[in-house]
Amino acid sequence: MGFDPSYLHRNFTSIGTRPIRPDGIDKVTGRARYGADFNMAGQLVGRILRSPHAHATIRKIDTSKAEKLAGVKAVITAADLPDLTDGDSAMYDILDNCMARKKALYDGHAVAAVAAVDARTAKQALKLVKVDYEVLPHVTDVDEAMKDAAPLLHAGVFTEGVEPRPGKPSNVPKRTQYGHGDVESGFGQADFIVERSFKTEQTHQGYIEPHACVANLSPDGTADLWVCTQGHFVYRQHCAQLLGLDVSKLRVTSSEIGGGFGGKTHVWAEPVALALSRKAGRPVKLVMTRDEVFRASGPTSATSIDVRIGARKDGTIIAAEATLRYSSGAYGGMWAELGAMTAFACYRLENVRTVGYEVLVNRPKTAAYRAPSAPMAAFAVESVVDELAKQIGIDAVEFRIKNAAQEGTRSSYGPIYGPIGIGPTLEAVKNHPHMKAPLGENQGRGMACGFWFNFGGQTCTDLNIGMDGTVSLAVGTVDVGGSRASLSLVAAEELGIDYGQVKAVVADTSSLGYNDMTDGSRGTFSSSMATISAARNAISVLRERAAQMWDIPVDEVAWEKGHAIAKGEKHGNLGRLWLKEIAAASAKTGGPIAGHSELVADGAGVSFATHICDIEVDPETGATKVLRYTVVQDAGKAVHPTYVEGQYQGGAAQGIGWALNEEYIYGKDGRLQNPGFLDYRIPVCSDLPMIETQILEIPNPNHPYGVRGVGETSIVPPLAAIANAVSNAVGVRMTHIPMSPPRILAALETGGKV
């Protein structure tokens, strides 16, 4: 669906307003049902036994004692989840990650599971499962894992993307490369070159709701799964394939979701719960503890990145290159590749090259985390860009404006950009009062840019008009933070009715066609497109019915602001038919009125943001305080501006936490030392200032209203913006994230050479 330029000057009635969300009341009264808030009659409690070792061969598992414990109804191991993946290596990884088959590959890797009548019995039963491990040497650090002498996680991994194919296995399943031009000759023309290496530690999405599901698998092969997920259709595909079920016989219902940020795009416990239910012949509820969430869900990559950028005296970047090593946990991924694609996406570059290495380590399988892989790459690149601007003697914002990508620029990852927002966000930042506000002692201001692709994908929506003229909208894209409100606005806009007449719900997998999950900032982008399409289909039915009621040809009926009108002078006396009147007559004019839409929402617009941050550093302790924070981001068109602001603020807050304090800390034994919110330190309310936002609207040419995804980009700039602010406050260049007080103090003591 292309952008309709007439909308540019159109006065929207609903789009751009800020009504209360339809699911709001349930959420402020405690009535909303999340993953763990649902029960089935006769359900059992499931619990998972996890490896305490970072790397170990599983010699034998003895479940006999656990099985004999009164109240235990099923005990399963990998043997109860036979390999049905048929050569699909990505699915095999998911299977092996759900339940270790031959080796435990990280601290927390599932090795067995029980279902029992209550939590106490299940906990007791776990203690009775005896696992005979042969402990193997492990590696958790991304750079260590690349070394020749590193313990190998999988003997059969040979690096892809290298010619000739390596003769030796390694922990690097894949190398990727992006770019264009001649980088070496570019650097030859540079007057200034800055080269630095960076590290970032692993972080977790930190959603407050632990993974939870209730599974019921009947002997006839039908099954129900209630689960908190970002994509119940994807969960259905994966669970059906792993359990050997017919896709259509597994109904997955997505509960309200208590945060995901990419972390609920992947099955972990759900296939296990289904397998337990199959064996026990009863429903099984499985809720992860917080400890399990940290140890055994899907955190982001730890990285090691080298960046080199060269510029001419006049401030033109002439060459840029980066080598990016991203840990992917115990299984391969495409995380370094995404880093390599996004690293230089903000800039117009003649000569650019990025190389990514996926690196296997004895840590949980990496999953997506909000604009996955982009924040680390942006941290490294934007730090060097700032340093280079200083060396040249040019203002950091001006330097970026001079080199910003624009419409027609060939991006560093290949495609030619259409209309984009990087230039406008930089101009807005340049003119923002925040940039001119005074700073005190030990205070510094930093800024940085960020990019994210966004995604569209498969989308299916039903719009049904009730006999009373109200509208129910069934979508299959999970609402992670207000999209039911946005989509109701879209339906109201198209039909010309009040927002209050629309009720949007997230339908289960048996009620609607396939939908991709809520990732890639696609929720509102793709589902609004499908909603527009469904509404327009409904309008054509409404026009047909009006034509019938008037007994005139349908092409003489138009739809305007919630009613049908007969076009032309000859129908002058017909007046108009309101949607409500047409709906009331529907039983006599052909039955229910509905509009459907099945589409692939192509053309998601790329997204850019620029952030400004003021930091104060206590030079005696290395403590930091975020004094002021501003987000400027392109939304294409903000459907519900309040929730757009919310995405900007939430992403920035996550980025701030990542920049300053959040990190996975592994001991020498390969065990995670901080699997809880006490020592995995996400920002608390008193850590943050208000987060100012400025929404820019540069229409996406591939959406009728110009909408772009807005969910992810806001986490990309903060790491670099804060590092640049710290550098400007106390004169040290921080190259290791998080910039925790001990790291800043150490940098201050050694003059930044850490």
């Binding site: 005696e620 403590a623 006490l678 008193s686 925790s740 007080p741 001990p742 103090l745 150490a746 003591e749």
Partner: protein
């Protein structure tokens, strides 16, 4: 497992002393329930001491204050006489956990949990606080600093329960303060901390001083050398520099997930200087 809520100290002591398995005392539960959840302790008996008469009260006596073992830090923090008398103790107690934890946690629990990072302990130690202990052999008092003997270990004998913490009346021209370092602004365990209690003469010269460091050694560290540096001074810049050096030197910290040895050493000195300055001002020094 059994849960019992005795009404008298004698019953509580009898239950604990007579228990055969693992017995745990429950006041606020903010450490106990976390340890139970993590499977680190599976008590056979939980003795809830909150119904015992007097244990939930702060009494003002002729000698000073008696803070019952079941007094939550929220209640403690609202006591204006205590705020005036021992602001350092109160601010330390108020730093334990969130508002939610404050509604439950107690300074006796903080002491008996025997974490080297306990917030209230350095403040109590420098205040010269005593623990009133009831056991099978009767009642005794002991200086607070003698209670923790290592991480998670106390000097209490089997059956002994602390019923109250005793604080003397504040002496004229004296003041206390507590400071800790945490990476966030709330919700963290102290990476390193300092309690200071100072007494001045009429000229503002320090005549009495106690300084203790938290999270700097396996147990709270009463730094005698720091007192020596402080006594006789008016807390001039030279004294503060020396104090910082002495405190950094006195640390015997470890590297762990919360901080490094170097960081703890350096920051112990910084906090000592800052806390001493606050205590000095509170004592009326200029």
């Amino acid at each position: 497992m059994r849960y019992i809520r005795p009404l008298s100290m004698e019953d509580a002591v009898g239950l604990i002393a007579g228990s055969t398995g693992t017995a745990a005392i429950l006041a606020g539960g903010s450490d106990l329930l976390v340890r139970m959840k993590g499977g680190f302790i599976e008590p056979d008996l939980i003795v809830d001491i909150k119904a015992i008469e007097g244990l939930s009260e702060i009494r003002e006596t002729a000698e000073g204050f008696s803070i019952g073992a079941a007094v939550s830090c929220a209640v403690l923090g609202e006591n204006t006489a205590l705020q005036e008398g021992w602001p350092g103790v109160v601010e330390a107690a108020r730093l334990i956990g969130s508002k939610q934890i404050q509604g439950r946690c107690t300074i006796v629990g903080n002491l008996c949990n025997a974490s080297p990072a306990a917030d209230s302990v350095p403040a109590l130690v420098v205040a010269g606080a005593q623990a009133s202990i009831v056991g099978p052999k009767g009642r005794r008092t002991a200086p607070v600093e003698t209670l923790p003997v290592g991480p998670g270990k106390t000097s209490l004998a089997k059956g002994e329960i602390i019923e109250a913490i005793l604080l003397a009346n504040r002496l004229p021209r004296s003041g206390d303060a507590y400071l800790r370092f945490i990476p966030r602004t709330e919700m963290d365990i102290a990476v390193v901390s300092t309690g200071v209690n100072l007494r001045l003469d009429e000229e503002g010269v320090i005549v009495g001083a106690r300084l203790a460091l938290g999270a700097a050694a396996p147990t709270v560290l009463l730094v005698e050398d720091a007192a020596e540096v402080l006594i006789g001074s008016k807390l001039d810049e030279g004294t503060l520099e020396k104090l910082a050096k002495v405190c950094s030197g006195a640390c015997r910290p470890i590297d762990d997930k919360r901080g490094t040895v170097e960081f703890r050493r350096k920051v112990a000195g910084v906090l000592a200087r800052r806390a001493a300055t606050t205590a000095y001002i509170r004592a009326g020094g200029k």
